[in-house]
Structure formats: C-alpha cells, structure tokens
C-alpha cells in the first residue's frame, strides 16, 4: 500500500512519463504523413518510403510507445509502492 506522502511524487513521475511517451508519438503521427509525397521518391522493401512510414512505420511506433509506456509506468508504480496487491 502506498504511503500518503508518496502520492505527490508518484503523480509527478506519472505526469512526466505520460508527457514523454505521448507527446513525441503524437508529433510523429501528425508531422510524418505531411511529408509523405516527398518521401515517396525513395523506396524501402519495395514500398514508397512515405507510404511505408505512414502505414507500417507509425503502427510500429505506436506498438513500441505503448509497450515501453506500460513497462515504465509499471516500474513507477512499483518504485512508489502504488502497485496493486493481489
């Protein structure tokens, strides 16, 4: 069980974790497709690069973001004793 005085540091830590996980992902998601046409001049695995990055690349980035966030947030929960006791 988490101690009361740990609540603020825990929440500060959580906020930073969310910010550093979500913001880069959203920026990539918004900016990358805007340059798709320019990137399409290059090829990767037979795909036009812009299309490949927008379709496959962003899926991969989403998966990495979500799993690294889950892993880090779980570590934060344990560090502050905020995890669930079962």
């Amino acid at each position: 069980m988490m101690e009361r005085k740990e609540r603020k540091p825990y929440w500060r830590h959580t906020k930073w974790q969310v910010l550093t996980s979500l913001l880069p992902f959203l920026l990539t998601l918004i900016i990358l497709p805007l340059y798709a046409d320019e990137l399409n001049a290059r090829r990767f695995m037979g795909f036009p690069l812009g299309y490949f990055l927008a379709c496959h690349g962003l899926v991969l980035i989403a998966i990495i973001t979500v799993f690294s966030y889950n892993n880090r947030q779980d570590a934060i929960d344990h560090w502050h004793g905020a995890q669930e006791d079962l």
Partner: protein, 611 residues
C-alpha cells in the same frame, strides 16, 4: 511484459473453451469446403455459414449467463488482458470500421490512412490519459463514473444524455453493416433480417450482459481475424510468394503505381480542409494509391487523426471495457494487445487494397489490348461491382465497385472457393454484431443504472436491476433495428460521426476529471454544454467563419473549447469539496480498493447501521 498473479483470478478453462470454439468454427468452414466440392447448392452453404456462425456466437453469450448484477455489469472483473484486447479490437472497428476503412483505403488510397492512424492514436491516448483511472474508479458506465466523480446528479444525467447519442448512432451503423453482410449470405426481406439480428443480439447479451458481451465479442474477434487474415495470406502467396502480405506487398505496390500511370489515373490536389471520404455504394477508384492529399487536405488529415483520437479515447463503449479487467495493470496490457491487433488490421487493409488494385488494373490493361478481364467478371458475377454498358474498352471510371464489399471481394478476385467468400462475409457479420453488442450493452446499463435506478441503485435487488437492463436491451435492440432499415445514412459516416460526438463531448471532461482536480460539477456541465453547442453548429451549418467544418472533424475544435470553458467556469465557482478531492487522489493510484467498491461498502454499512 511480466505476468501477474491476476491470472489466477481468471477461469483456467478459458483457453480450452476458446479452443473448442475455434475448432467448431474451423470444422464448419472445412465441412462447407468439402460440401462445395461435392456440388451442394451454394445457397444452402451460405445459409449454413450464416446460421452456424450466429449460433456459435449466441451459444457463447448464453453460456456466460449470470443472475448476479456484479457479473452482469463488469463481468466480475475477471477478463484476461489478451481476450479484452481482442474485444477492444473488434469493438473499435466494428463492422462499419472494418468495411468502411478497408473500402475507403482501396478507393482513395493514402488519404484514408487518417482513420487507421486516428484509431491507433485514440487507443494510445485512452491508455495513457483515461482508461486506467476509469478502471481504478470501478463504475461500470461512463456517465456513472462522471456522476460519482463529481457527486452530481445533473452531471450524471447530462453525460448520460450525451453518451446515449454516439452509442445509438454506432448501433445503427452496425445494424446497417450486419444487414448488408447478411444479405450477401442469406437474401431475405430487410425487415425480417433486422428482426433476426435484433433477436440474435438480445439472445446473446441478455443472459449475461457485459459477461456475455466480453466472451462472445472475443469469439467474434477470433472469427474476424480468421476471415480477414486467411484470404489475405492466400492472396499474398499468389501475388508475392510470401504469406505475410502485410509486409511484402511493396513490389506489388510498385507494379500498381506503374499500371495507374499507364491507365492515366489523375493525381487530384486538395485544399487544406478538403474532406472527401468515399461514399457508400458503387464507386470507381479514381486517384493514385500512394499520392497524398488528393481527397483529404493536409489540415483535414491532421484534424481527422486528432478527432478520431478524441472519439476513441472518450468512447463510452470502449472505456467500459476497462472496468472488466482484474487490475489497472491488466487494463494497460489489454490496450497494448489492441494496438497490436488494430495495427495488424490496418496493414492488412493496405495489403488487401494493393492486391485488389493490382488485379483490377492488370485486368483493365489486358482488356484494353483485347484480352479477358477475369477479376472484374468475378466481381460482377458476385454482385460486388458493375461495369458501364456500351463501352468497347473499359476504363478505370467505368468499373464501379461496392465500397463496403472490398474485403469480401478479395477471395472472389483471386477465384478462391465460394465458401471463403462466405467466410469473409460471416467475419464482417461477426464484427458488426460485436460492435452493435458493445453499444447495446452500454445503452441498457446507462438506462438502468444511471437513469432509472440512480443514484442509489444498490438499494434495489439484483433481480430488479437485471430485469430492467434486460428489458431495456430488448427495447433498444428493436429500436436500433427499426432505425437501421428506416433511417438513411452511410455506415462509415455514421461511425465517424459517432466518434466525433464522443470525442467532442465526453473526452474533454473525462480528461479533465483525471488530470485537473480543480474541475467541479458546474465546470463539467459548462464543458459538456459548450462542446454540444459546437457540435450543433457543425451539424446545422457546415460553414463556420468561412471554413467548412465537417461533423467528423468537429472534436478538433469542440474539445479545446470545452476544456477552456470547463476550466474558466470551475475557476469562477467554488472548488470541489474535500471528499471529492480525496477520491480524485485515490483514482490516480492503481493500488487499493476501487473507489466505487469502497463507496458501495460504506453506503451499505451506513444503511445497515441505520436499520
């Protein structure tokens, strides 16, 4: 990610049950393939596929019967993360998303990626910003969560009224797609088909509510995965010699680009806010597949991603899934699984679109030099496309393809057995039933718990609460079925508009309810009202400040306005009480008893002390 002790809360027989289900589904498909080779009538094969699939799904739902309200409302919080990931995937897509997204991608190419990317962004935002906290609070409905979070009846009723709108729109969209998929399998009168679907839904869900929903949707998700991935893998082997078409269709895409140039397909240029999603029905594939921003402008593309993101993160049907998880950690993990599965579907849709474009483009080129066009002929024979009559040489514009039939057309284009075509149609039917079921269950719970029995629903017996929910479910299913056959509308636009509604109205208050503890009930009501006004403006006038604002993009404007209004009104009015602040601090920490369970326990203790 490491496994937790939470796994012990889960029925250890679940894997065996789903093995039996998967084996039954495979047995039906293999038997029908044998019967097809033996020359059985196509109609009886299709009927068996449709009825067999619906019977299997309904039997899973009926098998999850319960007469305990806790099980009925949140499945006893015992759904494993992977199964919930499956359910989330099939719910987020639904039949409308499955057919609409794949069809739009095939017809308009790159520009339609905004929908898939919006879904991924929405799941990520839901994971980090809302879902774990809703799980910790523990209330089975979103209006119930907001009502208890602010200890306010007006907030509960206002959010219930606003949550009902996207849920019902989503229900209609799913009914429409289910009717379409059923018409491919068993042609029957629309009214009879709608009544049959409503009956199947109620038979599946009424016995166990969210418990039935969880298990039947997981089963439907498995059927959808098989129906989408199997034909794509076969088509990939035929086209690229590799079964993983999702990652190997690059060279085919190169050939498609060459064919498109030979056929003289144009590269349209859109303005910043152009937003043209291919409509329902027969459409020609006009633009080039990989050229960006021909149908959707760059700004509309970005706003589309953000709007869908808000819609998914604020969707009452999706967020309610979080409450069925054993722990907050499992909630996060299940959304991780959903991101993987939705990503897999998105890359699969891309592969399907490229393979189909390649076959059709090759057919058109061959036909223009006097050769045959077997792919186009197969589509016309199945009723998925029409060709302009009186033209000696077919052009891309003279082949009109049904947008929502893109997935089901793949096995037809590659001359796979007709049973595979039926399997894909059954998969689309399963997705539509799962999407409709998620909305229907939430609607019934909101009506029963947040409107009729609120605020002290625990005072009523389990029997009374279950009866009200079951009756509400039957009435709402009938209403949804009736609306689906009587109200005109494109299922894909209904789907996008439902997401727009939840993204504009519920997402801002859900976000603030967790991340800004100063938000009070008046601020919440003001935020809900302001976003609703923006939505009404978007519906009433498509022109705002000289700029066109499609409803599907409205959350990009409505959500920031709602956040600012909510914060200003909260600052100008008295702050929340100590009890509310304490519950906010509590919901932010994963460990310990859920806020809802604790409140319920204390209320029961007070009640027994008084008596």
């Amino acid at each position: 990610m490491p496994d937790r002790q939470s796994a012990t809360l889960v029925n250890p027989m679940v894997g065996i049950y789903f093995g039996i289900f998967a084996a039954s589904l495979a047995a039906i498909v293999v038997l029908l393939l044998i019967f097809e080779k033996l020359g059985f009538a196509e109609r009886s094969l299709k009927t068996t596929m449709a009825l067999g699939a619906m019977t299997l799904f309904a039997s899973v739902g009926i098998g999850a019967y319960t007469n305990r309200f806790r099980e009925y409302a949140n499945a006893g919080r015992r759904i494993p993360a992977f199964y919930n990931g499956l359910t989330l995937t099939v719910t987020i897509l639904g039949g409308a998303g499955l057919t609409g997204l794949s069809g739009a991608l095939f017809l308009a190419g790159f520009d339609m990626l905004f929908m898939g990317l919006g879904l991924l962004a929405g799941l990520t935002a839901m994971l980090m910003l809302v879902a774990p906290f809703v799980r910790k609070f523990g209330v089975p409905t979103i209006p119930g969560y907001l009502g208890k979070r602010f200890e306010s009846t007006p907030v509960r009723l206002a959010s219930a009224s606003l949550a009902v709108i996207p849920l019902f729109i989503f229900l209609i969209a799913e009914f429409k797609i289910a009717l379409l998929a059923l018409s491919w399998l068993v042609p029957m009168a629309p009214a009879f088909a709608a009544a049959l679907l409503a009956f199947v839904l109620v038979a599946t869900l009424a016995p166990g509510g969210v418990r039935s929903l969880s298990w039947s949707s997981a089963a439907q998700a498995l059927a959808v995965l098989v129906a989408v991935l199997l034909p794509t893998a076969i088509a990939a082997v035929l086209q690229t010699n590799l079964p993983f078409g999702q990652f190997s269709h690059g060279p085919t895409l190169r050939a498609v680009a060459r064919d498109e140039a030979t056929l003289g397909l144009q590269i349209p240029i859109a303005t910043l806010l152009t937003f043209e999603v291919p409509g329902q029905g027969l459409q020609a594939f006009a633009g080039r597949y990989t050229s960006a921003f021909g149908n959707v402008g760059p700004l509309a593309f970005v706003l589309g991603i953000l709007s869908i993101m808000a819609g998914v993160a604020g969707s009452p049907a999706l967020l309610a899934r979080a409450v069925t998880m054993p722990t907050v950690y499992d909630t996060r993990k299940s959304i991780g699984w959903a991101v993987i599965l939705v990503g897999l579907m998105l890359t699969t849709f891309s592969a399907v679109a490229v393979f189909e474009r390649h076959v059709l483009a090759e057919d058109l080129l061959r036909q223009s030099s006097g050769g045959a066009a077997p792919g186009i002929a197969a589509l016309v024979e199945h009723g998925f496309a029409t060709i302009a009559t009186g033209e000696a040489r077919l052009k891309p514009g003279s082949v009109m393809i049904e947008r929502d039939a893109t997935l089901v057309a793949l096995p037809a284009l590659f001359a796979l057995p007709r049973v595979v075509v039926s399997l894909v149609a059954a998969g689309i039917l399963a997705a539509a039933l799962a999407g409709a079921a998620a909305s229907l269950t939430q609607l019934a719970l909101i009506l029963g718990e947040d409107v009729i029995h609120a605020p002290q629903s625990w005072l009523y017996s389990d029997n009374q609460r279950l009866t009200v929910c079951r009756i509400a479910m039957a009435i709402l299913a009938a209403a949804g079925a009736t609306a689906a056959i009587s109200v005109p509308g494109d299922p894909l636009m209904l789907y996008l508009n439902a997401l727009a509604f939840s993204g504009a109205t519920l997402f801002p208050v859900l976000l603030l309810s967790v991340w800004w503890k100063r938000l009070n009930a008046l601020g919440t009501l003001a935020a809900l009202a302001s976003s609703f006004v923006v939505i009404l403006i978007a519906i009433g006038t498509t022109e705002l400040s000289g700029l066109s604002l499609p409803l599907a993009l409205a959350p990009a404007l409505a959500a920031p306005i709602a956040i600012v209004v909510g914060m200003i009104v909260s600052q100008l009015t008295p702050p929340p009480g100590r009890h509310i602040l304490e519950s906010v601090r509590d919901l932010r920490v994963p460990g310990g008893e859920t806020v809802y369970d604790r409140e319920l326990r204390r209320a029961r203790q007070r009640s027994s002390t008084n008596t």
